[in-house]
């Protein structure tokens, strides 16, 4: 059984890589600065669409962490975001007008680009609305983390998605370009997450947070997955299965300890719920380019009609990574 399963997963991985290669023909190279990538550089991979308002802070945040190069796919933006990204000195930009959904929500495109550029690099796969937080990120650059992971022979690093939201209506306070989105959306749910183990791929399936609490309270099994493994020492044989929730080979998904201990982990602060969210949800509902026919967006739009407030009196206000550590959302593990 074990051997057969491994064999099937290997076939699946090879199929994913073949598919990524096929889908690579949809990508057009806009700006190539990849010859500036040195060995050991830390790379960020991102797909985006109409995120011009978020990109300035996004770049600043990850440059401050110590990321060396961005490899991005612009999916048909018409708000100037692609042009802005192309101007950046550390960005290699691809563009495509093809379907996000048909590329399995961008995973195929990124699998291909990672295959091409990321071999033996530490790679961080994040969306423009995700801010990566790791232990000691206020005093140590991301290279300190990746060096430590290398020394510990760890290949992948988990970071759960933590939905951030403002107090009051989602669109009450406008987000300005370049602003830290956490100034607007600084609240989160600290302890209402459910966890199940996926016995085939070994990853944990985490759900919960404000999206389960407000938008999926009647169908919690449809609530979006929050487990992510965004930081991986990439090898060209690796492939993401679905978003950054699952990887193959499946050993990479073992970012948790099963013997009672805690492995080191981080958090992706998910600043989806800004004033841009309402219009974005409507647009995405029409495009139907998201997971399960944009079911998720259907729920959002339905619920948004009632002007919901995600904030509740038990919401926690974000301070820093140490707070998340104490709350038990992430862990230092044995990194001290």
């Amino acid at each position: 059984m074990g051997v057969w399963q491994s064999y099937r997963l290997r076939l699946q991985r090879q199929r994913l890589l073949a598919r990524a290669w096929r889908k690579s023909r949809e990508l057009r190279l806009i700006e190539d600065r990849s010859n500036g990538i040195r060995p050991n550089d830390i790379l960020v991979f991102t797909t985006f669409r109409n995120e011009a308002v978020r990109l300035p802070f996004f770049f600043k945040y990850y440059r401050d962490l110590g990321v060396d190069h961005f490899i991005m796919v612009d999916n048909d933006s018409d708000d100037g975001g692609a042009e802005y990204a192309a101007e950046q000195p550390d960005v290699t930009l691809y563009s495509t007008k093809h379907s996000y959904r048909a590329a399995r929500f961008g995973v195929d495109w990124l699998n291909h680009l990672q295959h091409k550029y990321a071999h033996e690099h530490w790679t961080l796969v994040v969306d423009p609305d995700e801010l990566f937080v790791f232990p000691f990120c206020d005093t140590r650059p991301i290279r300190a983390l990746t060096d430590w992971l290398d020394a510990s022979a760890i290949r992948s690093f988990g970071a759960m998605l933590l939905d951030m939201y403002p107090k009051g209506a989602v669109d009450a306070e406008p987000y300005k370009k370049g602003q830290n989105p956490l100034e607007v959306a600084c609240w989160f749910d600290s302890g209402n997450y459910s966890i199940q183990k996926n016995h085939l791929y070994y990853n944990l399936w985490i759900q919960g947070g404000p999206r389960a609490r407000i938008f999926f309270k009647d169908e919690p099994n449809r609530a979006p997955a929050l487990n992510k493994t965004p930081l991986v020492k990439w090898d060209r044989r690796y492939a993401f299965v679905s978003s950054t929730h699952m990887l193959l080979p499946r050993g990479l998904n073992l970012v948790y300890d099963e013997w009672g201990g805690e492995k080191a982990s981080g958090i992706l602060l998910h600043t989806k719920f800004l004033d841009t969210f309402t219009s974005k949800a409507r647009e995405e509902l029409e495009r139907k380019q998201h997971y399960a026919d944009g079911q998720e967006y259907k729920s959002y739009v339905a619920e948004l009609e009632n002007q919901p407030e995600l904030w509740c009196k038990w919401s926690e206000k974000y301070i820093n990574w140490r707070q998340l550590e104490i709350l038990g959302l992430m862990s230092k593990g044995n990194w001290a």
Binding site: N192, I195, N227, V255, G261, E262, S265, W314, N334
Partner: protein, 567 residues
């Protein structure tokens, strides 16, 4: 010229090694550097040329230094021979690595060693007495052979060890030595070191240690025991190891800790820790005369980190801690209490219990229609929702979350056969749970309700079945909670005594006697109600033997006495 010589083993971050070597030389210590053979020749030549202005820096023949192999010992041997040969005034040889950083002025170290001219600082303990080793190889390091690389051929390494165990293979330990182990960073006197290096049996020892596992932690540590007159079994280098046996790394944010540790040398420093290097390499020379190294605080921080990694925080379930069943080391994070049947029997049980114990008293958290948080709030600590659907989606995680979110404040909740029973086993096996059950009390609301008897009978049968299953769980030999079970008949005989025991356990022993009793519902006619159920063929047995009061119907009813409180 100084009496202390530094032997540096360098693998990576050559620029940092050069900086540190310059500090040693400036402090008056000659340095012999060994550069790992896996560093390519061009890099090595550049490194060597960069230090050509320092006459007191020599380079020893290069060996390949893979972790856990003989190369490291060979490197240390040859570099030490070079040091002893070329610098005759050297009395102590200090073995350091390229990622070591002197924390105190070099003069401090020299003064310290000058005051102890006959002392060898080398951590050295017999394998039987220390639990340091990682991965189960302690004594076997010295009795098996290790021809395969642990780093590159892990599988072969393990298989070969297993094979040798199976055939009971044992190497012979050379006569006269007793294996000792310890930190590979030592500081030996010329007498001891030269005695080891010039030992007539050295060839035999070398041959033996060549195939010992991690010889750099045992070669000098063992042989020093043969010759040293005065072993101080500790390392002057501050170097902590984690549970996988790899050294903890110091970063800029450890600056204050390192400063206060008063250690001479720390290892291992992250090569990009600019602030650490800038601070300690440019430190002024005001020596802290005679202070003994005091790494206690750093020790504690790293010990806590290892504990976090290996044992974690009990009761926490999260993205990087998801223990298998029975490996949790603590199912939940803190103590909590579950009451079954009490709200049915007492009218104001929840507020009463909150007053008596000062705990957070919830209603039926697992009620079918909603989560009855204290005060019937719609969300609770951690933003846990009161939606029954969300709760039932993962009821065990709901309970774990609740207890984790409120650690520091004891939670109390009601439970009963009408509730979601999925947590039954979870609470039964949890030593943190205190479970008090009045069996059969679920019949009281039925008794008080105004419903058709046929419905009541069906419901009573169902509830009795569910509660009885729950009791089987509670009485299982695997149940680890503190469990008390009374039948309802027993309980109404001695209610205050029973309540006192439970409350005492929650608040701590014998604090005070309960001064206020909860109000028990009027049970007049309850016995008859049970009898009616029996007469219908549904035998309610969980209540115990409840007396059928007043079989003859025409007696004057006497009002029930309220329970009085004895002061």
């Amino acid at each position: 010229m100084s009496t202390v010589g530094i032997v540096m083993l360098v693998h990576t971050a050559l620029d940092r090694a050069e900086q540190v070597a310059r500090v040693w030389v400036a402090g008056g210590c000659p340095v012999v550097i060994h550069v790992d053979k896996s560093v390519n020749k061009a890099t090595f030549d550049r490194f060597k040329a960069g230090m050509s202005d320092l006459p007191d820096v020599l380079f020893s023949p290069r060996h390949r230094c893979e972790w856990g192999t003989w190369g490291l010992v060979a490197a240390a041997q040859e570099a030490s021979e070079l040091m002893l040969g070329k610098f005759p005034e050297v009395r102590h040889v200090y073995l350091a690595s390229g990622s070591c950083l002197p924390l105190r002025p070099v003069k401090d170290l020299r003064d310290y060693l000058d005051a102890r001219p006959k002392t060898d600082f080398i951590e050295s303990a017999t394998t039987a007495d220390v639990p340091w080793t990682v991965g189960g190889l302690s004594e076997e390091r010295f009795t098996l052979r290790f021809p395969f690389s642990w780093r590159q051929n892990r599988r072969l390494f393990d298989k070969y060890v297993e094979f040798q165990r199976k055939i009971r293979f044992r190497r012979k330990i050379p006569a006269g030595i007793v294996p000792h182990m310890g930190s590979q960073w030592w500081c030996l006197t010329r007498q001891t070191l030269s005695a080891i290096l010039e030992d007539p049996d050295r060839a035999a020892y070398d041959r033996y240690f060549r195939k010992v596992w991690i010889p750099d932690e045992s070669y000098f540590q063992t042989l020093a025991r043969l010759y040293s007159q005065n072993i101080e079994s500790r390392s002057l280098t501050l170097s902590k190891f984690d549970f996988q046996g790899k050294p903890h790394i110091f970063y800029d944010d450890h600056l204050q800790l390192l400063r206060r540790s008063d250690c001479f040398v720390a290892r291992k420093i992250w090569p990009h820790a600019n602030r650490l290097y800038d601070t300690f390499l440019n430190a002024s020379d005001d020596a802290m005369k005679g202070t003994e190294p005091n790494p206690g605080k750093i020790d504690r921080i790293f010990a806590r980190a290892v504990d976090r990694r290996t044992r974690g925080r009990p009761g926490l379930y999260m993205q990087s801690r998801f223990p298998n069943d029975t490996w949790e080391n603590g199912v939940t994070s803190s103590a909590y209490s579950v009451f079954q049947g009490f709200t049915e029997l007492f009218e104001d049980f929840e507020p009463w219990l909150a007053r008596a114990t000062g705990c957070r008293v919830h209603g039926h958290l697992f009620a079918p229609d909603r989560v009855e948080f204290e005060g019937r709030q719609t969300t609770f600590t951690g933003a846990v929702s009161d939606s029954a659907v969300l709760r039932d989606y993962s009821s065990i995680m709901f309970l774990r979350n609740l207890i984790w979110n409120t650690r520091g404040e004891r939670q109390v909740f009601q439970f009963g056969p009408a509730d979601n029973q999925k947590i039954s086993w979870e609470i039964a096996k949890d030593p943190n749970a205190q479970i008090s059950v009045i069996t059969g009390a679920w019949a009281v609301p039925l008794f008080q309700s105004n419903r058709n008897f046929a419905d009541l009978r069906a419901e009573a049968a169902l509830l009795q079945k569910i509660e009885s299953d729950h009791l089987v769980t509670l009485r299982s030999i695997y149940a680890k909670a503190r469990i008390r079970i009374w039948t309802m008949a027993e309980f109404v005989e001695i209610p205050m005594e029973a309540l006192q025991t439970v409350v005492d356990e929650i608040t701590g022993k014998n604090v005070r006697r309960l001064t206020e009793a909860p109000r028990m519902v009027d049970l007049t006619g309850f016995g008859q109600f049970l009898q009616n159920l029996k007469n219908q063929g549904m035998h309610p047995y969980l209540m115990g033997d409840f007396p059928v009061d007043q079989a003859p119907v025409n007696l004057q009813p006497s009002p029930r006495k309220p329970y009085l409180v004895r002061k």
